[in-house]
Point group: C2
């Protein structure tokens, strides 16, 4: 099916599902066909049926092998890391699974700053996900650095021109997201990397909304460092461990701030001095979470099977369908698309801004129609996931949103509760 | 049963098991009665049968509630933390479960150093677990601090006099373990805290071999900061998340180096500036590992049910039995007790030094007799765990070790493999 010839009626959406070469992947996930349309896979991915088996197998190993299991568990951070690497264009030996996105971001940003001594500026984006901004603020505060904040309309990502405008010989680090968490705007990774390198700076990418969602080519774009989330598009489950990437040629040069025993050469010799291993392993800190690792491994398996090219083709068709339908039925109700207008500049989700975004979110959830998510102050994110979202669901989700926005009930004030 | 009247024959050991008020707790764990005697619960605790159920329940919630599950998952780091707190003498609101021991140690040590600006010395122990030493070395290297290393015989812990001898107005931080990983030597936490506080320094305790093993009274000993492991005596499974403690009165004063969104006031408002919550939550960084949390929660349940007093009584009787038997059957074979001689100075395990410790470890494992663990260069650790180790197993373990040390085979050189 051609990319832009997207379904323009519910019947055509059903026909697109019938012809979808990825349709059978939906069967790999736990789901209730009578449940709401799930449009929040970019917050918490659905559960692969294989996860339960992977955990049972680990419990079996722990029960029978006890501490001896570490003989074959120990290199799981690297083995699963290499599999994540296949999704984000990283050759083996450059990705490990460990810790949380936040901790990994801190480790890599601190390592990069240590790698550029004498420079006192960091470039970051005021529109970025909170933890990226806070980690950068913390490091800047602790080290007396100045943050050059990029800003602009949400629907635009940080542009190469914008980054170039603040780069200087003082810039140590550029810390940005590959896909904006709110608008879905896609950054030009190659362009930013090139500009930063010309200025002598290093770049850390947060790929939480990019990895497994859009084509990422870490090696091909000349990236230095990156982190990503395990529980969104990678389906690793709530609080799944995150991943980190360090370009092979940087691994000997950079040192993480946390000198942990899992990065030690001859770990079980327990020698007196910290001697980090030569490779990516030095970016490990403590004992890796085995339950998280085996669940994440099960989570990425369907992505590897489907292949990023096929997934991206369907993802774009899904968001195109939704953006076109939003234009038809949501804009007349006062909504506007808060994502980039051109689909090639958009990641795996679309965002819709409306002053009643919060009560609309609550109504959609309470009525069991759609699970979107809300981002303050006025944005609804809708994330179809090509592994398990049907075209007809994408169609219906926008329709349901239009219906609640047209409903009198949406004007009843509702206090904001904790949302994720 | 009186503490020191320990079994002195196999028959008496069987009788002690028959009279053991904790005997039924063994049934709560996955184990193979035909398997080797497990003496490595201080490296990886056995699996509670309840763990599988806890994980199934979480999978059920993830599958059916999807992202909505966070409404009741979000405070698990604090809820499970409070339960860990009951095992280590911490009133509620001072412990959270998060990250790894290494990362937590880094976070608390860095926070303490930031809390004592202008001071440029750290006290640590050369006999300590590698990751404690490496984290301290890293922070010292990054901040230009001097480490005052304590040292001495393995069988002695860091003494209050030893610590006092290096304290000065330059000391920012004392970083020690409550129970030494190798010898089991118990530190005088109250005494060290008092001496450090008199010098104006803060103390971080690594309680990985203490929590759930020996009586710990964090509040009562006037402790500042502590971390501990989830996969040893707390039975949380391989790579379980760790815990951290920050005294209530220090929580407003100290700031972690990692400014993460899980420590943010009004987390889902996603505001522009990092504003840490007032309480212990500011020491959280990224999204907590749910699988790790529910498994750890299942792991500590039997400890809470049995109570630390009863557990400690049995633990001391088990190590007394083993130490006495070691005196009788291992010392004549050239071994010596590498743990403190007086049982009240000893944690939950005993260590035996012998030049053939490594090949003896291999023979015990290969023959399916005992799972001890080996610590270079010449120590075997034997850790009976009162929740699931029988007196007769403690008796047999020492006997099996004597048998392999007396066996010609033990003199055949064997290369050292990865051990945990």
């Amino acid at each position: 099916m051609s990319l832009r010839d997207v379904p323009s009626s519910r019947r055509e959406a059903l026909a697109a599902d019938a012809a979808d070469p990825l349709a059978s992947f939906r069967d790999l996930f736990v789901l209730d066909e009578a449940g709401p349309v799930y449009m929040d896979g970019n917050s918490l991915g659905r559960q692969p049926k294989a996860t339960a088996l992977a955990l049972s197998r680990l419990l079996e190993e722990w029960g029978s092998e006890l501490v001896g299991g570490w003989q074959h568990w120990a290199d799981l951070p690297q083995r699963v890391g290499d599999r994540v690497g296949r999704l984000v264009g990283a050759a083996p030996g450059q990705v490990v699974v460990a810790d949380s996105t936040t901790v990994n971001l801190y480790k890599l940003a601190a390592a990069a700053l240590d790698g550029r001594p004498g420079r006192d500026e960091v470039v970051a984006d005021a529109r970025d996900f909170p933890t990226v901004r806070y980690v950068v603020q913390g490091l800047a505060s602790q080290r007396g650095l100045r943050v050059r904040w990029l800003d602009g309309p949400w629907a635009e990502g940080p542009s190469v021109a914008g980054v170039s405008g603040v780069l200087s010989p003082r810039t140590a680090l550029v810390c940005l997201s590959g896909v904006n968490f709110r608008s879905g705007a896609v950054a030009d990774m190659a362009g930013v990397n090139r500009a930063a390198h010309e200025a002598g700076a290093l770049v850390v990418w947060d790929l939480s909304h990019a990895g497994g969602a859009v084509p990422v080519d870490l090696d091909g774009t000349g990236s230095d460092l990156a982190v990503g989330c395990g529980y969104k598009y990678l389906n690793g489950g709530p609080g799944a461990p995150a991943w980190l990437y360090v370009r092979a040629t940087l691994q000997g040069e950079l040192l993480p701030p946390v000198w942990g025993w899992w990065g030690q050469e001859g770990q079980f010799e327990m020698g007196p001095e910290y001697r980090p291993v030569a490779g990516i392993g030095r970016f490990l800190s403590g004992t890796p979470s085995l339950m998280g690792l085996v669940a994440l491994d099960a989570g990425i398996e369907p992505l590897l099977e489907a292949g990023m090219e096929a997934l991206w083709h369907k993802a774009r068709r899904l968001t195109l369908l939704m953006a076109e339908r939003a234009e038809q039925v949501l804009v007349p109700l006062g909504a506007r698309l808060a994502s980039p207008a051109r689909d090639e500049e958009r990641g795996g989700h679309i965002s819709v801004a409306h002053e009643l975004a919060w009560p609309a979110t609550r109504l959609l959830v309470e009525r069991g129609l759609v699970v979107p998510d809300f981002r303050p102050p006025d944005v609804l994110r809708l994330a179809p996931v090509p592994l398990y979202t049907r075209y007809v669901e994408a169609w219906d989700a926008v329709g349901h949103l239009a219906a609640v926005l047209a409903d009198e009930q949406v004007r009843v004030p509702v206090p904001r509760s904790r949302v994720t």
